[in-house]
């Protein structure tokens, strides 16, 4: 019993770690899409953030500087997306896809050119990374039945960025629903003309939306290369940007349900890792590939039938052109 409890806790612990970049990217996507700009380039920004953070951390040895430059880099990519989609009214999916392809190629090319390790950045020392933080009294409280292990195993012992991701959810909720900026952001995603005739700049609002999206993607990227791992590896985002996008859509463009979807995907992934090589009686070894494929299968199934319609911001994907 105690053993299976520990197993559950360790799986939850792992789920939280896996879900962190998803949560950050989902919140990022939410801010962009609520303003009416589809952001398929979450994946590319995640990868770019990871690469820049890995590179800067390797060169300077400063995790904080790495985080900051990663955020600047992804913010610039967001502005590029905004320039194409907002200023020049380009197709938002095409622009996003172009950014993904560009980043995928650039990170490898620059990685090889700068470090000559087949696209990988050098391994980082502890000082150049965000290391796990032990909560006060974590070891002491472990002895407390039931709740103690939750505190010690699940809540404590993550790096700073995991907590940042968790804090990002209520923060985004507050921004979107409780502030003037959020009201306008939601309005511009639903009916930009209403915003324009109310004397507010549609362009300005949308740029702010995508900019905030970029900043959050930067944190997610840094998490991958300098917190969860100790270096950048080519294509290390591995589709997590897309999964985050799917999670945000499951959550119907709302922060809390999106968090739920991210945690669910994280949990599936963690179970897949945990079940690696485990024999189940009467079934044999669980094919890990099956569980790894689950998030994608669920994405297709849920998107096909379970989300219901017309929940997306009404003006999403439509460039704003003044009438006549």
């Amino acid at each position: 019993m105690a053993e299976s409890y520990t197993f559950v806790l360790l799986t939850l612990d792992a789920a939280l770690r896996v879900a962190t970049p998803l949560v950050l990217c989902a919140m990022a996507g939410l801010l962009s899409e609520r303003s009416g700009i589809i952001d398929i380039s979450l994946e590319g920004k995640l990868l770019a953030g990871a690469f820049v953070a890995g590179t800067v951390a390797a060169v300077t040895g400063s995790a904080w500087l790495a985080l900051l430059t990663a955020m600047v880099a992804t913010a610039l990519l967001s502005l590029l997306h905004g320039f194409a989609c907002i200023t020049h009214r380009g197709n938002q999916v095409v622009s996003g896809l172009a950014i993904n392809i560009m980043v995928s190629g650039l990170t490898v090319v620059l990685g090889i050119a700068w470090f000559a390790r087949g696209g990988q950045t050098p391994s980082l020392q502890a000082a150049a990374r965000f290391m796990p933080i032990e909560f006060p009294l974590a070891e002491t409280l472990r002895a407390v039945p039931v709740l103690g292990p939750i505190y010690t195993e699940v809540l404590s012992g993550h790096n700073l960025l995991v907590y940042v991701a968790l804090a990002a959810v209520p923060f985004v909720y507050w921004v979107v629903y409780k502030t003037r900026f959020g009201l306008r952001l939601r309005a511009v995603g639903e009916n930009p003309q209403a915003v324009d005739t109310a004397g507010i700049s549609v362009t300005g609002l949308r740029y702010r939306g995508v900019l905030m999206c970029g900043l959050l993607c930067g944190i997610a990227g840094a998490y991958l290369s300098i917190a969860q791992n100790a270096s950048f590896v080519r294509e290390m985002s591995a589709g997590q940007g897309y999964i985050a996008l799917a999670a945000m859509i499951f959550g119907k463009w709302r922060p809390l349900p999106a968090l739920g979807a991210c945690l669910m995907f994280g949990l599936l992934d963690a179970i897949a890792i945990r079940l690696q090589g485990v024999e189940i009686e009467g079934f044999g070894e669980v094919p890990v590939q099956l569980i790894q494929a689950l998030p994608y299968i669920m994405t297709v199934v849920l998107l096909a039938g379970f989300i219901g319609k017309a929940v997306a911001p009404k003006a999403i994907g439509i460039p704003y052109v003044k009438e006549r």
């Binding site: 900026f181 639903e190 915003v195 005739t197 006549r324």
Partner: protein
């Protein structure tokens, strides 16, 4: 005409307050199009001033300039006597100008309160703004009697209340000048009357109102002064009390309007369309057409009146074969259509049942197609225009040009894209295509939506002459005046049911209006019975 303009403005004595709005020499071009030519306009404070004109006469452009959507190429705007540069909606709001757009500028998923606040919040965090806005709305309600539930979500409100929310939005921003662009287009007659009451009480409290419309009756009912626009120019100013609808109509069109003599004396022939207990549910399971039965006879126009969205669209789509019916049956030209034995739009066309859809952009035309291509949609497999595998384009183009001449489509250019024609001419292309085949039953939806006065006159004439040639016509329109002008019999639809059936001759508009809102005592009774 210009002389009369100066007479009216000259009648404002010296010493009076300056006009609320004064436009001097406003000029605006969009490339080749000269949308506004040297427009002068004076609107006295505290009056209701109407602007009438056909579509494309430049009314909307002029208002957009006043509201800061566009900047004029030349000219001067004075608000309360002070010259002002209005470069954005923000400048207009600052100057106390509020606009109620034809298509409401509301966020459907927001509450009324949120919509009213949007752009005029009192701080970065919403909770305080909400409290203040709520208080201000209460004050406005007391001052103007304008009541809308602040917590209602806009998309769940009836259109009339949405419009009130839009007016509140302007008042909340301290507007003293209110521009209304075609405000009654989406309202029932009763809702329109309520709106007029509101506008009159706003006027009493000193608000200056500029009303843009093409409905002359509204001008006569409501305004103090009226200006007529034609081809970008203001061609006349009148005191409303010193003019009449006929004069205004002629000024708008620039020539005299012939009245169609609706000959209702002839007797219609046999029933061409017989509908029995037809019902239909939409994808969500909501009943859209509810147990509808009626007949349309040869040589008769049956008009279906009703506020948009009460099942008329679905009824037309059922009868034209676009949607299957769920229960009941109908007979069209001897063909029995039931749920078990459905009929495709193509079959219906073969039966000489033609359909002019309500939404010409979505169902009537393919906008990027050439006019000649749009003119054969649905008939592209007819033998005459097919040469083996290929279409006979020279013939199609020749046919199209001929059709365009007969139906007065301008310009007569079969090689122009459908999207490049004005709304009225697009509509004429669709009508030409369907009427040219001499159907025995014609289903017509909103034949004159967004069409200007001259074209309306023409289209009405065509419909009447088809009827006189023995065609059975089912006419759906949300314009009660149109229904009244054309129909031999009038059915009223409300929530998918037919709630009224009256003869066209001598039909009472007020009674119809009540039926449309399902507010008549008769309708209430029949509902209680069912």
């Amino acid at each position: 005409m210009i002389a009369s303009a100066s007479q009216v403005s000259g009648s404002i004595a010296q010493g009076d307050p300056p006009p609320a709005i004064e436009l001097r020499g406003i000029d605006k071009r969009f490339g080749e199009v000269h949308a506004n030519r040297n427009v002068d306009l004076r609107v006295a404070a505290g009056t209701i001033h109407g602007i009438v004109g056909e579509n494309g006469a430049g009314k909307s452009t002029l208002m957009s300039i006043l509201y800061g959507f566009y900047e004029a190429d030349a000219g001067e705007i004075r608000i309360n006597g002070r010259p002002l540069q209005i470069r954005s909606a923000n400048d207009a709001l600052q100057a106390g100008i509020g606009m109620v757009h034809q298509h409401f500028m509301l966020v459907d998923t927001f509450s009324v309160l949120e919509n009213v606040m949007l752009g005029a919040e009192s701080g970065a965090v919403l909770s305080r703004s909400k409290t203040l806005a709520r208080r201000e709305l209460e004050r406005l309600e007391q001052d103007y009697g304008l009541r809308v539930d602040p917590d209602a979500v806009v998309e769940e409100l009836p259109v009339g209340e949405q419009q009130r929310a839009e007016i509140l939005k302007s008042l909340y921003r301290g507007a003293e000048i209110l521009i209304l662009d075609e405000p009654t287009g989406v309202l029932t007659p009763q809702e329109s009357d309520q709106l007029f009451e509101i506008l009159r009480s706003l006027k009493e409290r000193g608000v200056t109102i500029l009303l843009i419309t093409h409905k002359l009756r509204e001008i006569m009912d409501l305004t103090d002064f009226v200006s007529v626009m034609r081809q970008g120019e203001i061609v006349a100013h009148r005191r409303t009390s010193e003019t009449d609808q006929k004069e205004l109509a002629e000024l708008m069109v620039g020539r005299s309007i012939e009245q169609h003599d609706v000959n209702r004396s002839h007797t219609p022939g046999e029933a061409v369309l017989a509908v029995k207990n037809v019902s239909m549910r939409d994808a969500k399971g909501v009943t859209r057409v509810d147990d509808v039965s009626f007949e349309v006879r040869a040589g008769e126009i049956v008009g279906i009146a009703g506020v948009a969205g009460n099942g008329q669209t679905e009824l037309l789509e059922l009868l034209s074969g676009i949607r299957p019916l769920d229960s009941g049956s109908f007979h069209a030209n001897g063909r029995q259509v039931t749920p078990q034995n459905p009929c495709s739009p193509k079959d219906m066309r073969r039966l000489h049942v033609n359909h002019v859809p309500e939404d010409r952009h979505r169902l009537g035309l393919v906008m990027p197609f050439l006019a000649s291509e749009s003119s054969i949609l649905g008939y592209q497999d007819r033998g005459r225009i097919n040469k083996g595998l290929a279409l006979d384009y020279p013939l199609i183009i020749k046919d199209c040009a001929e059709m365009m001449r007969v139906f007065d489509v301008r310009p007569v250019d079969p090689m122009l894209r459908s999207s490049n024609f004005s709304g009225g001419n697009q509509q004429k292309i669709v009508l030409a295509r369907e009427m040219d085949k001499e159907p025995t039953l014609l289903l017509v939806g909103q034949p004159t939506r967004g069409v200007d006065v001259g074209a309306i006159e023409f289209i009405h004439g065509q419909l009447l002459s088809m009827r006189d040639r023995g065609c059975a016509i089912l006419l759906v329109s949300v314009e009660l005046d149109e229904i009244l002008a054309l129909s031999d019999r009038i059915l009223v639809m409300f929530e998918g049911r037919i709630v009224g059936d009256v003869a066209g001759a001598g039909a009472d508009k007020k009674q119809l209006g009540l039926l449309m809102a399902n507010a008549s005592p008769d309708a209430a009774e029949s509902e209680a019975v069912s």
